[in-house]
């Protein structure tokens, strides 16, 4: 049966690790130029030579968007369970314990509130370095709570997606987080509060097919991979080469799926402008020039 064959041949979506490499010096994976690691980090993990956007650690991401000292973390009090008693090459609780230790948080997300150019906002940031940013019950619940708490406090919500999709180890419960996050966002919609979704590399599967694309505005970082089915799955299904730049942010912008593609250095300023424009408030930023560089 063709379908069986298709599934059997289907290889996993594996997204190459595009974290900033360790070491004092590194070669940019996009332009091959030798760069000083510190320069890359201080440049928001964007190559100073070619502008390639590396994946950004969550803490640095928040620091780059929130005014210094204003971020108040909400998440962190929820931990995953093992409702399926799932074992693959490793038992799910062991896998989680290992990643929790490495990433220093109970699951693949941080939420909280703070100020951006003085503007109070709620925010969630997904951690791709935590089990591929996969969405299980905790990630879904943290996003739902963040949306509801933002609504309670009359705050706009900014979400940064980075995820391989729904987490297999929690089975259909992970799938249900797509509906849960979607319904929780209604608390913002009911009050006319903005939710702006920023898609970063990579945003795939059940995350793309739920809250991440339900923003009032949906923007992406340059070259970010954004898809429902990953490129490898598609390639194995159709047995032909994929078009140049397929499923990358710029491609999706052309296809009409995004409001804009925004460089990391401009992200904070743009987000604040969007929020103020949506809420019909003055858009001038204090000390705007000082903030153009981001942090």
């Amino acid at each position: 049966m063709a379908l069986e064959r298709w599934f059997r041949r289907g290889r996993p979506t594996r997204v190459d690790d595009d974290a900033t490499p360790a070491g004092l010096w590194m070669k940019c994976s996009a332009c091959n130029v030798q760069i000083y690691r510190k320069d890359l980090v201080s440049n928001l993990h964007v190559c100073p030579e070619c502008g390639h956007h590396y994946r950004m650690p969550v803490d640095e991401r928040i620091a780059s968007l929130m005014d210094e000292g204003t971020f108040d973390r909400w998440s962190g009090a929820l931990a995953p369970e093992d409702p399926l008693e799932f074992v693959d090459t490793e038992a799910y609780p062991d896998r989680m314990a290992r990643v929790q230790g490495k990433q220093g948080r109970p699951d693949a997300i941080v939420t909280g509130e703070g100020r951006m150019h003085g503007e109070p906002v709620a925010m969630f940031v997904m951690d791709f370095f935590f089990a591929g940013g996969s969405m299980g019950s905790v990630v879904g619940e943290e996003i739902a709570r963040a949306a509801e708490r933002a609504a309670d406090r009359g705050l706009p919500l900014v979400g940064l997606a980075a995820s391989g999709g729904a987490r297999m180890q929690e089975g259909a419960l992970s799938l249900m987080q797509m509906a849960k996050t979607t319904t929780a966002l209604e608390s913002l919609n009911d009050l006319g509060l903005p939710y702006i979704s920023v898609l970063t590399d990579p945003t795939t599967g059940g995350v793309t097919a739920s809250f991440a694309t339900l923003g009032d505005l949906v923007v992406a970082e340059p070259k970010a991979l954004i898809c429902f089915a990953g490129p490898r799955v598609i390639q194995q299904t159709i047995k032909q080469e994929l078009p140049e730049g397929f499923q990358r942010a710029e491609f999706l912008l052309k296809k009409g799926m995004l409001d804009d593609v925004i460089e990391r250095k401009d992200l904070k300023r743009k987000l604040v402008r969007y929020i103020r424009l949506l809420l019909d408030r003055p858009i001038e930023l204090e000390r705007e020039d000082a903030h153009v560089a981001g942090v």
Binding site: A172, S174, T208, F246
Partner: protein, 329 residues
């Protein structure tokens, strides 16, 4: 066509048939011998189907001859009028939509449709929708809201189609939009998983007030084959993946993902489609009767809170948290 584990049952059935023919031809009375075999057949069926593994249920859910969306539409509903097209891109044959009567009331029907033979399977793309299919479903949600008609959604798909055009037309975007649109319905909505509930492509029409599932149907975040390919880099480990994913009707009931499991005739829906469809028809009438008194506000509230509750996690004591805090300036 038969499933591997059905072979002993089918062998016995054909033996009984042969014996009957032989008896008739030879004018011999084999009633008691046949009776013995028939009771053995009955207990063999009971035994086999009482202890199906998850992987076997996956096969039953996909079995040729299992009633498909259109079979239900024709058997359970009266006066079905198919309505085509998403008004933007085209008409997706993998989703059949329209208006019909059920127990005297008009309803909007949305059915994911697999083929009943190879030719139809190709036409229906094996029940895998393109964005157009979800747009068509959303058009039906609008129609249902305007005319105050209940929605019945029949879920049976391996998943949303993973292809170039599907991605370019925003497969993820339409699935998200359909989830949202369905959650906003101001009319009663009942979804029934009749075969395969394949991931987001199934959930897109699964955000109902009541979610029912047939005994041998499955509902999963990923197909066992794809799951095995990722976890063990070997799609032939699908059986193991099916066990791990806990994707059967009873599993899902335990996890509170489905509200009600509908029994199938012994031997599976494909061995007795009529009885299965009657069962689903009865359940749908009951569910719609029960939802009928609720007003629009209550229906939306109930549906939202039904899905808002789903998930399993532990609330850590703030002070006792073993997991270090994220340090931020």
């Amino acid at each position: 066509m038969s499933l591997e584990f059905e072979k002993p049952i089918l062998d016995l059935e054909s033996k009984i048939r042969d014996m009957r023919t032989y008896g008739e031809e030879q004018g011999i009375d084999l009633t008691s011998e046949i009776g013995v075999l028939e009771s053995r057949l009955e207990s063999l069926k009971q035994e086999t189907f009482a202890s199906l593994t998850r992987w076997q249920r996956v096969q039953v859910a996909r079995a040729p001859g299992r009633p498909t969306g259109l079979d239900y539409v024709n058997a359970v509903f009266e006066g079905f009028e198919e309505l085509h097209g998403d008004r933007t891109l085209g008409d997706d044959p993998a989703v059949v939509t329209g208006l019909a009567k059920l127990a005297g009331r008009s309803v909007v029907v949305i059915a994911q449709q697999k083929g009943r033979d190879t030719k139809e399977n190709i036409h229906r793309n094996f029940g895998m929708s393109h964005p157009s299919g979800y747009r068509k479903a959303m058009r039906m949600f609008d129609l249902a809201d305007k005319f105050g008609l209940p929605v019945v959604a029949l879920i049976d798909t391996p998943g949303a189609y993973p292809g170039i055009a599907a991605e370019e037309q925003g497969q993820a975007w339409v699935i998200a939009a359909s989830i949202q649109r369905m959650s906003r319905l101001r009319v009663p909505a009942v979804s029934v998983v009749i075969g395969e509930g394949g991931s987001g492509g199934a959930l897109a029409i699964g955000v109902a007030n009541r979610v029912l599932i047939l005994e041998n149907a499955t509902y999963s975040v990923i197909s066992p084959e794809s799951c095995a390919a990722i976890l063990w880099r070997d799609a032939s480990q699908a059986e193991r993946a099916a066990e791990a994913l806990k994707l059967t009707a009873r599993d899902l009931q335990t996890l509170e993902i489905v509200d009600r499991v509908l029994d199938e005739p012994v031997g599976g829906a494909h061995r007795d489609p009529e009885a299965t469809m009657r069962q689903v028809g009865d359940a749908l009438r009951e569910e719609l009767d029960a939802l009928a008194p609720l007003d629009a506000t209550e229906l939306v509230r109930q549906r939202r809170s039904r899905f808002r509750r789903l998930g399993r996690f532990t609330e850590l004591e703030a002070a006792a948290s073993e997991v270090p805090d994220t340090r931020l300036d």
